[in-house]
């Protein structure tokens, strides 16, 4: 980050350009980092649900409902990251 900032400063660009570049970069980091946790979480969650459904097919309906609830809660974190991305990039 420091090196890129210095490089941009050295190539004689305005402060607004520097700000835009930093905003674009941190927007990328924000969404990328926010996607890691929920990615692992949803993978684990769905994997366990499939395991449960395979073991007890008669409970599949209940497991599926709970799975969707869990996905909704986990996914919210990634989506907040996406909103932060939009705010940093465009606002």
């Amino acid at each position: 980050m420091e090196a890129i900032a210095q490089l941009i400063a050295a190539t004689d660009t305005g402060a607004a350009d520097l700000k835009n570049a930093n905003a674009a970069m941190s927007a990328g980091y924000a969404y990328g980092l926010a996607a890691i946790g929920p990615g692992i979480g949803i993978g684990y969650l769905v994997g366990k649900s499939v395991e449960a459904m395979a073991r007890q097919p008669e409970a599949a309906g209940m497991v599926r409902t709970t799975m969707f609830l869990g996905i909704a809660f986990t996914e919210a974190l990634a989506l907040i990251g996406f909103v932060v991305f939009i705010l940093l990039k465009f606002a």
Binding site: M62, F73, E75
Partner: protein, 252 residues
């Protein structure tokens, strides 16, 4: 090599007024209300003695889906009185989501924060009111803020967390989940449509066949959006049911 410029975010999300104070988002919301009302008005007029068919069959399928898939799974039998409310929520959100993939509309109404925010605020008011009605003001706040079965000393930690998660984060995450999902889908579709358009019109003739790749991705994402539109409406209705059920009957 190719002239690809992503448009300003406002030009893909903000629409010109059709007449003052009424733009495409409002049009979609009004249409969603009208369509869902008309479906059930048509369904109710049919003769009750014969087996259901046509619109009535369709309406019954939706009602049954809400009853079995949402209410019975989360609130149980005593929650069946909430079916009309959840059905309205589900249909309205679904019909607001689906224009995102219908040609000439191509904008989910829920991709503007105002619509999901208002829906989430409505749910927030309702589940708090239900909690206060069923348990009394003191009882409701006691059961939400001081969950039973926690050591007394831990309440210093648990109570603020419960307050933030049950009173502040719930409506916020409910609104942001719907809004961000629909907006992400919309932006994805715009991105791939622009990319394939730019490749199909490229000056360099070699690039034109490459445009098929983003075009296939566009078709795939469109069909994925059909699923997302349904899933988000379902999840919104289900979380509403969970919140109302939790407020009416706290865990002991």
């Amino acid at each position: 090599m190719i002239a690809l410029e992503f448009p300003e975010i406002n030009s893909i999300l903000r629409w010109k007024d059709i007449f003052p104070g009424f733009n495409k988002i409002a049009l979609i919301a009004v249409l969603a209300t009208l369509i869902s009302t008309v479906i059930f008005l048509l369904a109710v007029r049919k003769d009750h003695s014969t087996a259901p068919k046509g619109v009535r069959n369709f309406a019954e399928t939706i009602v049954e889906f809400i009853e079995n898939g949402v209410v019975m799974q989360t609130m149980g039998k005593e929650g069946l009185a909430w079916t009309p409310f959840l059905l309205t929520m589900f249909l309205f959100i679904y019909l607001c989501n689906v224009p995102g993939i219908i040609p000439f509309f191509q904008m989910p109404a829920t991709a503007r924060m105002a619509v999901p925010m208002f829906l989430a605020l409505m749910v927030w008011v309702i589940y708090n009111a239900v909690g206060i009605k069923h348990q009394g003001l003191g009882g409701y706040f006691k059961s939400t803020l001081f969950p039973p079965g926690v050591p007394k000393a831990l309440y210093i930690l648990v109570t603020p967390i419960e307050f933030i998660s049950a009173i502040i984060v719930r409506p916020f995450s409910l609104a942001v989940r719907l809004f961000a999902n629909m907006m992400a889908g919309h932006i994805l579709l715009v991105t791939f449509a622009l990319l394939s358009e730019a490749l199909f019109q490229a000056k360099d003739k070699v690039l034109i066949p490459v445009g098929i790749l983003p075009f296939f991705m566009l078709i795939f994402l469109t069909s994925f959006e059909v699923l997302v539109a349904f899933l988000q409406a379902y999840i919104f209705a289900m979380l509403t049911a969970v919140y109302i059920g939790g407020a009416a009957h706290p865990e002991h």
